[in-house]
Symmetry: C2
């Protein structure tokens, strides 16, 4: 991640997180708080809390004002990973056993619940008005993330999914929390409401572009290992990504029939399956269509950022950071 | 439940709940909101929301001021039932299939998560200061309820549990939410902080007494069917109630050895097991000790209620209501 310019901000957050984690070790029952400490210690980019600090700093306010907002979004994000790992029956997270595997499902459910409650509690350090503004935004976002997760689960069993429904799903599941993180930082900086809305929309469209490019990466990455993923994993799993859904939408009768056969192939025919689907993607120029859709959202994100009344030098830094995040994806 | 004097208040809440439920039917994805509607429609005493309204009314304020606090505690209570039913692998709730059985565990986890988030959201109708005060109390209570649930799960696998730890567990799992419901109503009535604290403690000790008498009822109820429970169910399940833990604490070597043998008996020796344990309870006068402990908390509850500066007639009504709740238990 191109955090170079933001390394100081990231370090400030990491210190804050360490203090929070240190507080967990004395809390009981330990079955509830050890899993929280564990998942928070698995690492990660800490992108969401960093965005909260960056947004506060963008308006020339002390980024430390946004530290508890940053902590709240990171706790919520980790809560959602913890519960999603149960839903997906995922054995590993960052190459370590998931909480429901290392402890058990009951502990994973309940420690996730406490983490969700505590994500809201850390905002109590803010004054009345700020607390309520942060809460309304954070609460609405939390609902949307849960809705996105359910939409994603529904897609697994759905026969067909239209591309627009997919875009709504990734918006809810992934993008809104990025927008929320930025807006919370802007609230902590007492930015005006138009700027708050614009930075939210910047984050949301950045998140959509990021997820679309993540879909592309899964299918086309030449250097997949670098990203810890197997190229074609989504194809093998029949995952209804933008690429597959767009293919279903545009395919001729012949292509639809070929696709249906390919989707039925199992692990033992992995190479045949991946190559067959990739060939269809190529025939229909799906990569370009996905890049175009991602680019549309990148341009929208940048347009919203441009509108914001803030330190121009810092706006440029944030733009470069955002473009760098997306570049990592292609 | 002796709600006679409070039937009007209960009806006001039930109307409010129906409006909330009507709003759920238009929300999507339906897999998240149908389970919420379902569990809220299974009925129940609605004791917690009623307490919020009663507390607000006690200070001669319009009880409708507490309607959203009442809704919040009822949503939270139902969230906790929904997730607890997963943890306990319970097939039925109020003689209807539990959510994880009627839908599936994934949907039960995620619809519970949304319900927890929305329990906090309904408080947003209150002004800044009230919102924050309600949130701090409600959030802390939610953490304690989760801790109580985990403590309860820990007891299942623990060799021995001391009676004090049991009292802490039931305080967290059951009693604090009653105190919280009352205090939230008092906050909505702008009661002063001493009165708020006293009504919280009234509810907490009432809750402890209630749970102790519930333990007694399970072992000694002569008219068990009336309460939808099987007499001796806790004994059969080796459930570490006050009764069993006090017996373990007071038993002589001979009694300990007899108890250990009884605890190993299975379903086919149900009658022998129940009668054997009840005989030990009688030898050690456990029923009286449990009644004494419950009475101690009832007296404490009443003492806190007496201290409150509020309408004396309404205080008396609430006292009678509380004593009536406890009487149902013995």
């Amino acid at each position: 991640m191109p955090v170079k310019n933001y390394q100081l901000l990231l370090n400030v957050f990491l210190d804050h997180l360490e203090k929070y984690k240190a507080g967990l070790s004395s809390q009981s029952p330990k079955e509830l708080y050890e899993p929280e400490n564990y998942i928070l210690s698995l690492g990660g980019k800490r992108l969401r809390p960093l965005l909260a600090l960056i947004a506060c700093d963008l308006f020339d306010k002390d980024p430390q004002l946004a530290l508890d907002s940053a902590l709240a979004v990171e706790l919520f994000h980790n809560f959602s990973l913890l519960h999603d790992d149960i839903l997906d029956a995922a054995p590993l997270r960052r190459n370590q056993p998931t909480v429901h595997v290392k402890w058990n499902t009951n502990i994973a459910i309940l420690s996730g619940d406490v983490m969700l409650v505590k994500a809201f509690a850390v905002l109590q350090n803010y004054g009345f008005k700020e607390f309520k503004k942060l809460n309304i935004l954070f609460n609405q976002t939390a609902v949307e993330v849960c809705e996105g997760q359910q939409e994603d689960m529904n897609f697994e069993s759905a026969e067909t999914v239209i591309v627009d429904a997919y875009l709504t799903m990734i918006t809810n599941k992934t993008a809104v929390l990025l927008g929320c993180s930025l807006q919370m930082g802007a609230i902590n900086a007492y930015a005006d409401e138009t700027d708050q809305k614009n930075i939210y929309l910047f984050g949301k469209h950045l998140g959509i572009a990021f997820q679309l490019l993540d879909d592309l990466l899964d299918a086309f990455a030449e250097d997949a290992e670098k990203f810890g993923k197997q190229t074609g994993g989504d194809i093998l799993a029949n995952k209804k990504t933008f690429l597959l859904l767009k293919t279903m939408e545009l395919a001729s009768d012949r292509q639809t029939s070929a696709l249906k056969k390919l989707l039925k192939l199992k692990e033992k025919d992995a190479v045949k399956k991946i190559n067959g689907v990739l060939a269809l993607y190529q025939e229909l120029r799906i990569k370009d269509l996905c890049l175009q859709e991602a680019d549309k959202h990148t341009q929208l994100a940048i347009a919203y950022l441009d509108k914001i009344n803030a330190n121009p030098k810092k706006k440029k830094e944030l733009k470069n950071f955002a473009l760098g995040l997306l570049k990592r994806q292609v």
